[in-house]
C-alpha cells in the first residue's frame, strides 16, 4: 500500500448526498479479477453519455478537475455495496483523499486498506471547502495526515480526527496481514480456548 503523508492538489466538488458505490463503479465493471484499471470507469453512468462520449457537465470531465486528487462530497459518501472496486476505481483515477460529513462504514474501512484518506469534517466546514473547490484550477488544497489538518486555498485550516492505528498504518503504508500475523500465537491460543468452550463452531 502506498503511504499517505501530505497531499496538495485540486479538489473536485460533488455536493450530491448518498453517492453510492453503484454510482462510483457500476456492477458491469466488477467482473474483473484484477485491482487495477478501473479508473476509466469511475462514476461511469454520470461521466459518460449513452453513446460513450464524455458528459461535458460532469465535474471530473471539466478541465480544472480532470486531474483532481481530492473529492469534496455530500453526506453519507460510499453507501451501499461492500465492493472494494469503489476505492480501487477512485485510486486508479488519482483520488487519494475524500472529504465529507460522513461515510458509509464499509467504504470508510476499504479506503484505509488502499492508501486513501477519508476525512470527516463538520457540515459548515465541508460547505466552505465545497465553495472553495468550485473555484477550480487555482484552488489547491493541502491535506496533512501527520498534523490532521486540511488547508483551503485561502489558508483556512480545519482539523480532523482519525483513528490512531489507521493513521499509523496509512503514514507508513503498512500491510494489515503482516501486522496481524505477528500476533499468530494469540490467534492460536484463542482457537485452542474456543475449541474447548464452543466445540460446535
Amino acid at each position: 500500500m502506498e503511504k499517505f503523508e501530505k497531499l496538495t492538489g485540486v479538489a473536485a466538488p460533488m455536493p450530491l448526498v448518498n453517492i453510492d458505490t453503484d454510482m462510483i463503479i457500476p456492477k458491469q465493471f466488477l467482473k474483473t479479477i484484477r485491482r487495477s484499471g478501473l479508473g476509466v470507469h469511475l462514476f461511469d453512468e454520470m461521466r459518460y453519455l449513452e453513446d460513450g462520449s464524455e458528459n461535458p457537465d460532469f465535474v471530473l470531465n471539466r478541465p480544472p478537475y480532470r486531474k483532481a486528487e481530492i473529492l469534496i462530497a455530500g453526506d453519507n459518501f460510499g453507501c451501499g455495496s461492500s465492493r472494494e472496486h469503489a476505492p480501487w476505481a477512485l485510486l486508479d483515477f488519482g483520488i487519494r483523499c475524500i472529504i465529507s460529513t460522513s461515510f458509509a462504514d464499509i467504504f470508510h474501512n476499504n479506503c484505509f486498506k488502499n492508501g486513501i484518506l477519508p476525512v470527516i469534517l463538520r457540515a459548515e466546514e465541508v460547505a466552505f471547502l465545497m465553495d472553495e473547490a468550485r473555484k477550480g484550477e487555482n484552488a489547491r488544497f493541502t491535506v496533512d495526515l501527520e498534523r490532521q489538518q486540511v488547508t483551503a486555498p485561502d489558508g483556512t485550516t480545519f482539523r480532523f480526527e482519525v483513528d490512531p492505528f489507521r493513521k499509523h498504518c496509512l503514514l507508513n503504508g503498512l500491510d494489515d496481514i503482516s501486522l496481524t500475523l505477528e500476533k499468530a500465537p494469540a490467534i492460536d491460543a484463542f482457537e485452542a480456548k474456543a475449541s474447548r468452550e464452543r466445540p460446535w463452531v
Binding site: 448526498v17 488502499n114 494489515d176
Partner: protein, 469 residues
C-alpha cells in the same frame, strides 16, 4: 458485579483475540462466506504472498452474483466471457485452497446469504463475514455478521481474524402486531424511512419487540438483511425457540450432546435488563402500512397510500438529490403511488428469495394472471428453495399466472448476470437497492414486499395488496 451487557457486547467479548490500548481489537471470525465477485483478488493476494487459508473448514464458497438463472446455464455461451472467468476462478480457488464449495450445478447452490443459514453454517453467537454488504442477513440468528471489502476478505482468509473497533449499540423496537398484508419487508423499509440511510452509521442494531418475536426466521432475515441500507454495521435479533427450531437438524448444525452444549450457551444470548443502548428507535407495529420506494435511495420510502413528494419537501443536499431522483425515476411530484404503472416484476434476492417469500407471493397470485404485456420473473434464493416451492405447488401457481420460474442466483437484484432492465424500464422488485442503474443502466426500481410485488404483477401498477387479500 459486571455491568449489564447487550447481545452485541456478549458476542463481541466472546471473540476478542487481542485488544490494543487504543481499543483496536483483533476479532476472531467463526464463518467466512465467499462468492465469486469480491474474492478473486484476495485469493490472488494469498498466492502471491505464499499464504494458505488458515481455517478452510470455516470457509464456505458459492457462486451467485454472475450465474445465469435460465435452464441449461452450464452452457458457457449463457455467460459473458468475464462472468465465466470469475466463476471459474472461484471453482479453481475453492479446490486449490480446500474450502467448502457449492458449485453452480449443485442443488444446494444459491445466494450465499440463503445457503449459509439453510446448510446450518450460520449459528447463534457466531461472527460471520462475507465480501458482501448483505451479510447482515445472518444477524437474524443472533450472529454478529457484516460485510467486508476484498482486502479484508484476504485478511480473514490468511488470519481468520479482522482488525476492528467496536461499534455503538442501537436498539430498534417494533411493538405490538402487524396488520394483515404488512410483512417483514415493510417493517425493515419503514425503519429505514424513519432513520434514514445513514441513521445506523457506526452502530450495530438489535431489533426487538413483539413484532420481531412473532416473526419467522425468514422474516427476521429479511429485516436484518437491510440493516446495511440503514447504514448500520450489522443487525441482530436475539435467538429464541424460533431460532433453535430453524437450526435444529440442519446439515452443519451441532448434534447430540454438542447440540445441548451449544443450546445452553445460545440461551444466554440476550441483552441484559438495563443494558445501555446509545440510540433507541421505537415503531408501533400497528402504524406500519405496506410501503414502496419512489426514489433512488432506500430511505425514499412511503406507505402505498402516499403521493410522490417534491424536492421542496426536503432540506439541504437531500432536496437536490430528490430532484435528481425524480428525474431519473420519471416521476412528477403529487402523483399517487398507486397510479405508477410498471413494466416488470422481480421476486427474489437475498432479501426476499426464501420459501416464505414465495408462499406470500403465490398466495396473492393464486387463480390470477399477470397483466398483459408485463414481464414477471421469480428467482428462488437457492436450489433447495426452488425444489421445495415445486413440491408445495408454488412453482405451478407462478407459471400459471405467467411468471418465469428461474434457477437460483442474485439475478436482477444487481443485474451482473443477463437479467437486466432496459433504460426507462420500471420494475417492482423485492430486492434491497433502488440505486441509479442498479438493475441495469437507466432502469427504475421500486422496492416492495413479495406480496406487494405479486399484486403489482396482477394490476400492472403499484398496488395496495390489502385490496387483493
Amino acid at each position: 458485579m459486571t455491568s449489564p451487557k447487550t447481545l452485541y457486547d456478549k458476542i463481541w467479548d466472546a471473540h476478542v483475540v487481542h485488544e490494543d490500548d487504543d481499543g483496536t481489537c483483533l476479532l476472531y471470525i467463526d464463518r467466512h462466506l465467499v462468492h465469486e465477485v469480491t474474492s478473486p483478488q484476495a485469493f490472488e493476494g494469498l498466492r502471491m504472498a505464499g499464504r494458505r487459508v488458515r481455517a478452510p473448514d470455516k470457509t464456505i464458497a458459492v457462486p451467485d452474483h454472475n450465474v445465469p438463472t435460465t435452464e441449461g446455464r452450464e452452457d458457457p455461451a449463457q455467460m459473458t466471457e468475464e462472468s465465466r472467468i470469475q466463476v471459474e476462478a472461484l471453482d479453481r480457488n475453492a479446490r486449490e485452497f480446500g474450502i467448502h464449495y457449492y458449485p453452480m450445478n449443485d442443488i444446494r447452490q444459491g445466494i450465499v446469504h440463503i445457503v449459509g443459514p439453510e446448510q446450518g453454517w450460520t449459528l447463534p453467537g457466531m461472527t460471520v463475514v462475507c465480501g458482501d454488504s448483505h451479510t447482515a442477513t445472518h444477524g437474524a440468528f443472533g450472529a454478529l455478521a457484516h460485510g467486508i471489502g476484498t482486502s479484508e476478505v484476504e485478511h480473514v482468509l490468511a488470519t481468520q481474524t479482522l482488525i476492528q473497533k467496536k461499534s455503538k449499540n442501537m436498539k430498534v423496537e417494533i411493538t405490538g402486531r402487524l396488520q394483515p398484508g404488512v410483512t417483514p419487508k415493510d417493517v425493515t423499509l419503514a425503519v429505514i424511512g424513519a432513520t434514514g440511510t445513514a441513521g445506523g452509521t457506526g452502530h450495530v442494531i438489535e431489533y426487538c419487540g413483539q413484532v420481531i418475536r412473532d416473526m419467522s426466521m425468514e422474516g427476521r432475515m429479511t429485516v436484518c438483511n437491510m440493516a446495511i441500507e440503514g447504514g448500520a454495521r450489522a443487525g441482530l435479533v436475539a435467538p429464541d425457540e424460533t431460532t433453535f427450531e430453524y437450526v435444529r437438524g440442519r446439515p452443519h448444525a451441532p448434534k447430540g450432546a454438542m447440540w445441548e452444549a451449544a443450546l445452553a450457551w445460545w440461551q444466554t444470548l440476550q441483552s441484559d435488563p438495563g443494558a445501555h443502548f446509545d440510540k433507541v428507535v421505537t415503531l408501533k407495529g400497528e402504524d406500519i402500512e405496506p410501503v414502496v420506494t419512489w426514489g433512488t435511495s432506500p430511505e425514499d420510502v412511503l406507505p402505498i397510500s402516499g403521493v410522490v413528494p417534491a424536492p421542496e419537501d426536503f432540506e439541504g443536499g437531500k432536496a437536490e438529490a430528490v430532484a435528481r431522483a425524480l428525474e431519473y425515476m420519471g416521476l412528477e411530484p403529487g402523483t399517487r403511488l398507486t397510479d405508477i404503472e410498471i413494466d416488470t416484476v422481480f421476486i427474489g434476492s437475498c432479501t426476499n428469495g426464501r420459501i416464505e417469500d414465495l408462499r406470500a407471493a403465490a398466495e396473492v397470485l393464486k387463480g390470477r394472471k399477470v397483466k398483459d404485456g408485463l414481464r414477471a420473473m421469480v428467482v428462488p434464493g437457492s436450489g433447495l428453495v426452488r425444489a421445495q416451492a415445486e413440491e408445495e405447488g408454488l412453482a405451478q401457481i407462478f407459471v400459471d399466472a405467467g411468471f418465469e420460474w428461474r434457477l437460483a442466483g442474485c439475478s436482477m437484484c444487481l443485474a451482473m448476470n443477463p437479467d437486466q432492465l432496459a433504460p426507462g424500464e420500471r420494475c417492482a422488485a423485492t430486492s434491497n437497492r433502488n440505486f441509479e442503474g442498479r438493475q441495469g443502466r437507466g432502469g427504475r426500481t421500486h422496492l416492495l414486499s413479495p406480496a406487494m410485488a405479486a399484486a403489482a404483477a396482477v394490476t400492472g401498477r403499484l398496488t395496495d395488496v390489502r385490496a387483493l387479500i
